[in-house]
């Protein structure tokens, strides 16, 4: 019976995928994509993941997990499988899978969709599950510790330093997305600002008024957030109040930096923890609501399967389909960041090794599904509208008039009137050049929601979507700055001991300031960049994230090679090889491409030349110096990421070679076998 279901799924999946691939020239329904996704995930989960756990990992249900052996009721707690699933999913899912697919839709719906599906089933889900399993077998050790134990001090250092660098870039790019969504939008700004006192109110409620009552506090918070969305609309219509919330990019960037700094030094209960509760509930609620709305609405995709921009001339970001679609969509297909979660808290909750497949592979499937929905939300817009929202004006000729002319000449017709009508409907002054992905996703989500739950409320739904993304992003920004602060304090503590004390205020302030300066710099330059900044920062983030995934997969492959599972090493070795090819090609092009739109160094040289020749407009000439320095720093970072990736891969190959030659290796670090005491589990 199970086999019959499997075969039926395979057939439906194959029909859906070929339906997507072959249906050229006419619009296709989003349901095909959803069907293909669900079938592929199910096949991947039932067959591939089951095969990996049984044959490659050899999960053993009689073996006691660290949660059972080290149970202390706090961090090591044997937890029911669906509860661990929820915990893990909430931790791995952030704004990444929403933004990446939105940007990658410039190539058409097909490349991104195929990469999200295959990348997750064969790469991302496998990485998350394998790292979760390996960490569970090692008492919940972190990725950095595993790198040191299994590869050596060099690999360990690379993993740790890479983590800090990726954190800085991630926060900068997410900050830029929020700033671009709030720029000159009193409604969006007022709503996003309101989330801060609301989170603090919930914090005080859960701390002082009704301690520990998370559900009550969160319910009040969510109600207030919805009120803030409506209230923002009222402020937007008020002639005086609206000017208080109407700010340009640099002002908002300074605000975000100040906010990040304060959030990193305040006690967690005041801002971080309550915001996290709110964002978790919003996240789960909105994901479910969006899935239902897409199934009910059954929208047709208006974006072609492939656009002309696969040749690398895209207005949203430059670069050819290969390798840049694989860099742009990191989260949702394969995300190295997840390996930090899969090797941190989650393995300490796993009750039995049988749950590793659901928690590791299953959570990533759901995240990938979120990415698919983001892709649908981007591609159901009129392509002309989609490009007008997501491209900077500089990339389309300099003004809205030039932009619609350029887009229409490219075969994506759009008019000023159409854009203005849409902007009026969603309650914004303009939708031209709202780069970063958030506004376009919000328009897509708003049109899905409003067609299902009430067409008159487009403006409310739009600002709900903006608020939803901002809450996500600010949560990552808070938490990331804080983690960065701990890392810097740890490093400084090795220079002078008092700096290592996590609650010594001079050290707290210094370390927080260092971290905020790090990402604040990239954020600020992104804001003043006339091309929008996203086109530079997002690929850098993608490269960093894939580098981290490469490190995680290299650790897993090294462990397979060391423990006599060399014939299965392709399970992680194949995605690793693919990532190495993709990341190296992308990094190489970002460094050495002669096209100033792609290569960082060529871009800097081009700016210098134009500046010297006086060929730049006044406003661009004013910032050209800063942009040039920034492009060179970006180039140095890219080179560093590339170096780290290859150091780790070569370290892994060295271990493989020694294992092949039967030379002595560092001892296995797996915790010794102990039989589980759970009745029934061992026989299950």
């Amino acid at each position: 019976m199970q086999k019959l279901i499997g075969i039926a799924l395979a057939v439906i999946g194959a029909v859906a995928v070929s339906g997507i691939a072959l249906n050229r020239g006419e619009p296709i329904n989003a349901l095909w994509i959803l069907a293909a996704a669900v079938c592929l995930y199910t096949i991947g989960y039932r067959f591939y993941a089951a095969w990996i756990t049984a044959r490659v990992l050899s999960t053993d249900t009689t073996r006691a997990t660290p949660a059972e052996r080290l149970d202390n009721g706090r961090d090591f707690v044997p937890t029911p499988r669906w509860v661990v699933f929820g915990h893990h999913f909430a931790a791995i899912a952030g704004p990444g899978p929403l933004i990446g697919p939105t940007l990658a839709a410039q190539f058409g719906y097909l490349p991104g969709t195929l990469w999200i599906l295959t990348g997750s089933v064969l790469g991302g889900c496998v990485q998350d599950m394998v790292i979760l399993f390996l960490s569970t077998r090692r008492n919940g050790r972190s990725l950095g510790q595993m790198a040191r134990d299994e590869l050596g001090p060099l690999g360990g250092f690379a993993a740790q330093f890479g983590t800090l660098a990726i954190m800085i870039i991630l926060i900068a790019v997410l900050g830029l997305v929020v700033v671009n969504a709030m720029k000159h939008s009193p409604w969006a700004s007022a709503t996003v600002f309101a989330t801060i006192p609301i989170a603090m109110l919930v914090g005080f409620y859960m701390r002082g008024i009704r301690p520990g009552r998370v559900l009550e506090g969160s319910a009040i918070g969510i109600a207030l957030l919805l009120l803030a969305v409506v209230g923002g609309g009222w402020i937007d219509h008020h002639p005086v109040l609206r000017t208080w919330f109407d700010h340009d990019g640099p002002a908002l960037a300074w605000f975000v930096m100040g906010y990040g700094f304060v959030a990193a030094i305040l006690p967690v209960w005041m801002l971080l923890a309550p915001r996290d509760y709110l964002s978790t509930f919003l996240k789960l609620g909105t994901v479910v609501l969006l899935a239902i709305a897409i199934v009910v609405m059954q929208p047709e995709l208006k974006m072609p399967a492939l656009t002309r921009f696969i040749d690398g001339t895209g207005p949203i970001f430059s670069g050819k389909l290969f390798p840049f679609v694989f860099i742009t969509i990191a989260c949702g297909a394969i995300s190295g960041f997840h390996s930090l979660i899969a090797s941190g808290t989650t393995p300490k909750l796993i009750r039995t090794e049988a749950d590793v497949r659901l928690v590791g592979y299953g959570s990533m499937m759901l995240e990938s599904f979120v990415a698919i929905m983001a892709m649908i939300a981007a591609t159901l817009l009129d392509p002309g509208v989609y490009f007008a929202i997501n491209s900077s004006l500089a990339a389309l000729g300099g003004s809205p008039d030039a932009a619609v002319a350029t887009l229409t000449s490219w075969g994506f017709p759009v008019t000023i009137g159409q854009m203005q009508a849409l902007a009026n409907e969603v309650g914004e002054a303009t939708l031209f050049a709202r780069t970063g992905g958030a506004p376009s996703l919000a328009v897509g989500m708003a049109s899905i929601f409003s067609s299902v739950f009430g067409a008159r409320l487009l403006a409310i739904w739009y600002h709900f979507a903006i608020m939803f993304e901002a809450v996500f992003i600010l949560t990552t920004l808070d938490a990331g700055t804080r983690v960065g602060r701990f890392m810097v304090q740890d490093a400084l503590g090795q220079l002078w001991e008092p700096f290592g004390r996590t609650s010594w205020y001079p050290s707290v302030i210094l370390a927080s300031a260092l971290v905020v300066t790090g990402w604040g710099y990239f954020l600020y330059v992104g804001v003043i960049d006339p091309y929008g900044g996203i086109n530079i920062l997002w690929p850098l983030f993608g490269i960093a994230n894939q580098m981290l995934a490469g490190i995680a997969l290299a650790i897993a492959t090294a462990i397979f090679l060391k423990t006599g599972r060399a014939r299965y090493c392709w399970v992680t070795g194949f995605p690793l090889a693919w990532l190495a090819v993709v990341t190296t090609t992308a990094a190489w092009q970002k460094l050495f491409s002669l096209d100033p739109k792609i290569g960082f160094l060529a871009g800097a040289a081009d700016l210098a030349e134009k500046l010297a020749a006086g060929a730049l407009a006044m406003d661009r000439a004013a910032v050209a110096g800063k942009l040039m320095i920034n492009l060179r720093i970006d180039a140095a970072l890219t080179a560093f990421f590339l170096l780290v990736l290859w150091v780790v891969i070569l370290d892994m190959l060295r271990i493989g070679w020694r294992a092949y030659r039967s030379e002595p290796l560092t001892a296995a670090t797996e915790a010794p076998y102990q039989r589980t005491q759970y009745a029934g589990v061992a026989n299950a």
């Binding site: 669906w82 699933f85 929820g86 991630l170 301690p211 808290t345 990552t476 938490a479």
Partner: protein, 72 residues
Amino acid sequence: MRDRQLMRVIYLALAGSGARIRDIFTGASGLSAYEQYLAHLHAHHPAAQPLSREEFFRSEQTARWDGVRRCC
């Protein structure tokens, strides 16, 4: 009409997995942490005096945030 049937199917699917959904929400938010702690203390250290809900929540909230807990 078709939409109404679809809604019904979705409703039944959600209702059928109610316990599962509750578990997912619980895990995502850490709602049942205190109950788990009490159960653990009861099972392993029956003589110990448990923390109150307030005390537990305070110590737990600080401990929850000392590492990478949120992703991209």
